[in-house]
């Protein structure tokens, strides 16, 4: 932590500290409002447990989807050039800046019952609206850009020299990808995975708009917190703290693994 500041001007620490306070203070204020005596009962109620379990399951599922879809997207964007690439890159980033409710509406008109793909899916016997699948779709939609951005950045930073060497030594493209390219960007992949998971965990607006809210099926932890706030603000604060703790844990995990393998 306190390793050489490499000649930064001293005054820079003041605004940096203010910035850190700006993030930490509200979380501390929230923690100070927790009724610690009632904390265990507040967070272990059936609906809280159902919401936390659902959140962890759906976030895990959407993270897997982010890896399956995001890694190829990052590779294509970082390693090839094609017409309209910059447009494609902007579009991929769009969910980052869209208000979540807009994402939800867009998904509704795609996968909804009367949406673009809805009837086709209906014929295939797939009903997405009001299902856990809808939650995973909403989470993947908002989390995918985090994977693409993290990994594409890492791919560009490492460059292509080793890939080229491996190819000239006779390795086939798939081997190069598996043995050289991906191992080199493992930290970037890990960062993307964690960011995707964390974003999925916090997803709220798109889920509410697209998936609805039913205990154990579509009511994730953020939705449960929003609902509890109506009648039991103490429970809402306690659950918020659980969400913060899980998020810190997840982010800490990747930090730890990254500093272990620099």
């Amino acid at each position: 932590m306190a390793t050489g500041s490499s000649g930064l001007p001293r005054w820079i620490f003041a605004p940096a500290a203010v910035g850190a306070l700006f993030i930490v203070l509200p979380l501390g204020a929230m923690a100070s409002r927790v009724d610690w005596g009632a904390f265990p009962t507040l967070i272990t109620s059936d609906s809280s447990q159902a919401a936390l379990g659902l959140s962890l399951r759906t976030s895990a599922a959407s993270t897997v989807l982010c890896i399956l879809l995001g890694v190829p997207m990052a590779l294509v964007l970082a390693r090839t050039t094609f017409r309209g690439q910059s447009i494609v890159r902007s579009l991929v980033l769009l969910p980052l800046v869209l208000p979540p409710v807009v994402g939800g509406i867009a998904l509704l008109y795609t996968f909804g019952r009367r949406g673009l793909l809805g009837e086709t899916l209906d014929v295939l016997g797939l009903q997405i609206a009001f299902s856990t699948t809808a939650v995973v779709i909403a989470q993947t939609f908002v989390a995918l850009p985090f994977m693409v951005v993290s990994l594409e950045g890492a791919l560009r930073a490492t460059g292509q020299r080793y890939d080229v060497v491996a190819a000239t030594l006779g390795a086939r493209p798939t081997t190069v990808l598996r043995r050289v390219t991906l191992p080199m960007v493992l930290p970037g992949l890990a960062a993307g995975t964690v960011l995707s998971f964390a974003r999925a965990l916090g997803e709220f607006g798109a889920t509410l708009t697209f998936a609805g809210s039913l205990e154990g099926v579509t009511r994730t932890l953020p939705l449960e917190i929003y609902l509890q706030r109506e009648t039991d603000p103490d429970a809402a604060v306690a659950l918020s703290l659980v969400l913060v703790a899980v998020a810190i844990l997840v982010i800490g995990l990747v930090r730890g693994s990254r500093s272990a393998t620099p």
């Binding site: 009367r114 009001f130 809210s213 039913l214 205990e215």
Partner: protein, 254 residues
């Protein structure tokens, strides 16, 4: 509005020079803005009532903040600059009263009951409340924690049925949205919501809802800097003109 204020600002010193009596009049009715915190379901009606109120009360402007009743109460408790509070249910108003943020007693000014909303083509052929007990009908209701959800629970009890809802939403507008978009076959919303949605949904009256009436109370807020005007506005809502606007939107008498 800006021009009006500017005009008044110019007028006051002018009249001060010319006529003492005019000066007094100007001093008696300075421009006052009262802020009304009202339940989201009152948006259209209160906007209209506010317009009529302003037309009849020179020098008073009405500003609104519309949101869920419990959100509004939380804001008022945190010191938000509200002069009047109108809630969508008696419970929230009771909480406000107990918290000591109200000035005087609350008056009931309207009521609302639930109705079934379906997409215009009614794909699941819903005709009565009993049809919603069928699992094949995808029904959306409000969560029991919010007023429209509490009413939905009451209606199910009165009819002795259990609706296997596919989603319990946060607000009545969320429920209506799912019906309008066709995702849900049916939703339980207020009579006024069905009316406001026009031909985007079809409404089916439910006799069972007669015993589950949601009452809307209004009261001035204690910390208000314009207590008198706040009370005058509350009385205006409860009065003949307010009632007429609310009745036209489908609200029942209190």
């Amino acid at each position: 509005m800006r021009h009006l204020l500017l005009g008044l600002a110019l007028l006051v010193p002018l009249s001060a020079c010319s006529d003492g009596a005019l000066d007094d009049r100007a001093g008696d009715s300075p421009q006052v803005t009262i802020t009304v915190y009202a339940a989201a379901s009152l948006k259209d009606t209160f906007t209209e009532i506010g317009r009529q109120f302003e037309a009849e009360h020179d020098g008073v402007t009405v500003a609104f903040s519309f949101a869920g009743s419990s959100d509004l109460l939380a804001q008022i408790q945190q010191g938000a600059p509200a002069d009047v509070f109108a809630s969508a249910d008696a419970d929230t108003m009771d909480t406000a009263h107990a918290a000591g943020v109200l000035d005087g007693a609350a008056q009931d000014f309207a009521s609302n009951t639930l109705e079934i909303a379906t997409p215009p083509d009614n794909p699941a052929d819903v005709a009565t409340l009993r049809d919603l007990a069928d699992r094949r009908v995808r029904t959306v209701v409000c969560a029991p924690q919010v007023p429209c959800g509490a009413a939905a629970v009451g209606v199910q009890k009165a009819a002795r049925i259990a609706i296997p809802a596919v989603s319990e939403e946060q607000s009545v507008t969320d429920v209506l949205g799912k019906v309008i978009s066709g995702e849900a076959d049916a939703g339980l919303v207020y009579v006024t919501d069905v009316k406001a949605a026009g031909d985007r949904v079809a409404g089916i009256e439910i006799p069972e809802s007669a015993g589950v009436v949601n009452t809307y109370p209004i009261a001035p807020v204690r910390r208000s800097a314009h207590a008198e005007d706040a009370q005058v506005f509350a009385d205006f809502v409860v009065g003949r003109q307010g009632r007429a606007v609310l009745a036209a939107a489908g609200f029942g008498p209190p």
